[in-house]
């Protein structure tokens, strides 16, 4: 393991750091390979339940399901936010998942 130093040496040799960057590859990062993959959304229903429903099914935000809201409108609101509603980044809800979410929200549930 490479020793981590927190001394004043960085100030003195700061201008030289650039030269050494390509060589820096700490032992810890080698362990990354062994670890499992990160989280990914399963479908629109899951995103709705784990994010949207906490407000839109709880009288905090307006109901949005079964209103035939246009998919493009849903996408715009999710990405830009709307007044008090926060925006959601593609790092949180990727574009493909957002399409599934918009489809889930806009689709009218069968009425029996």
């Amino acid at each position: 393991m490479k020793e981590t130093r927190l001394g004043g040496a960085f100030v003195v040799f700061g201008f030289m750091l650039v030269i050494f960057f390509p060589a820096i590859n700490h032992a810890w990062s080698a362990q990354e390979e062994k670890l499992s993959a990160g989280f990914a959304w399963k479908d629109g229903a899951e995103i709705y339940a784990k994010i949207c429903a906490y407000c839109h099914e709880a009288q905090v935000g307006p109901p949005i399901r079964n209103r035939e809201l246009p998919i493009s409108y849903i996408r715009t609101i999710v990405r830009n936010g709307n007044r008090a509603m926060p925006s959601f980044r593609s790092s949180e809800i990727d574009d493909e998942s957002l399409t599934k979410l918009a489809d889930f929200i806009s689709k009218t549930e069968a009425q029996h």
Binding site: E32, V60, E92
Partner: protein, 514 residues
Amino acid sequence: MTSKYIALPKSVTEKVFDAAINDFRSVLGDAAVLISAEQLAPYIKTMMPVSDAEHAPSAALLATTVEQIQKIVGICNRYKVPIWTISTGKNLGYGSAAPAERGQVVLDLKRMNRILEVDKDLAFALVEPGVTYQQLDDYIKEHKLGLWLSMPAPSAIAGPVGNTLDRGVGYTPYGEHFLFACGMEVVLANGEVLRTGMGSMPNSNTWQVFKWGYGPYLDGIFTQSNYGIVTKFGFWLMPEPPAFKPFVIQYEYEEDIVEIVETIRPLRISGVIPNAVVIAHALYEAPVKARRSDYVSGPGSIPDEAVYRIMKDHKLGIWNVYAALYGTQEQIDVNWKIVTQAFGRSGKAKILTEQEAAEDPAFVYRAKLMRGEMTLTEFSLYNWRGGGGSMWFAPVSQARGSETLKQMALTKQILAKYGLDYSGEFIVGMRDMHHIVDVLYDKTDPEQTKAAYQCFDELLTEFSARGYGTYRVNTAFMDKVAETYGPVQRNVHKTLKKALDPNGILAPGKSGIR
């Protein structure tokens, strides 16, 4: 000629930035380097009373590995490009996902979202920055680990790394989150990777169980700071207790805060009440049940008479003390007797449990927060004035009744001057109180937005003049708060910054540090 960027970092030309972007792309791939206005739109929306353009990023980088981050800081040093790191990006009311300064590149770690370890026996977790409380809660339930989370009100969409690094709080016995942090991995500005505490020792298996390591304790300098990029974070979890008893104690008059605090303090310090108790004003709870427009119209702050009507109509106290007991039923029975005796003494308190309040939406969401269950019901606050304006004013108070009354009165007076309401609560620490006030305003109304800015500025000025320090603040006011802590601390912060990040590439401006 129009620029291909919506903003540029301070003192960086477009040509130099082009080169930096090319290098970022070579590390992350094109799809993980965002520069278009459409891609960056979600990073721009804030709840602060300043133009969102002042906090527009020049780009966003979606990194997923430590190695990528090491390379990114190398590029930043080469081109003197500053990065603003976010995890879940839901620091709502404190700056959201936007950088402190226009043109900074957002390093977005949301996709770095692996739960690396949850140990059932030792009750700890090790996670990456993008892990949300929801994700961790699902994991714990799926694996039947019998552990509880402590999280802030934006629970499901926020995460433990960002919240703890900004020294946020929750509502369980583990509510002072940084007290329960144990071990970090940090990418330094020079690209080296530091593991704090026991994590620095090869083959150590005590990284998440012993906080202090050997030598000076370093974890603290990576909170509310810009000295490194935390890429792994360990913290302790609370074993699920056999029994849980949430309750609320209501009081009718604002002056009763003195009695409340004097009664709670000994119970909290002795551990009879173990959790981060909340003393919420009626206007903090009202949005869950009532609409402001049903009680008042026109400009100005809500009159006391209207607040009184809300209390009566919606069964709220002017103060609502939410707390809980945890443990075996026998332990709870003993402590419940102590609690009811203490609060019953003056005859002013109305004590309610799940038996009486199970259907009350304010009680329901507070009970969820006190057992670490996901809820976003507190976002009802944002409907109070509407328009998406919110700033958390967060001065620290002694847990002493006379002090809380003084702080409440001063806050209310300044808010009223600007036509804003007192939506406040006190979160009881061990010996302190986080006095948390949501300065709510309509951001679509330019006059109200201007008033909110001036109001917040005056709150900070007046509180610091009386020796009341702010524990956390939004990105528009970080310099002002840093000033209130005096030149010596500021110089020490700056000295550390120069030593650890000589090119100033990491989040310049965070906590006023450059």
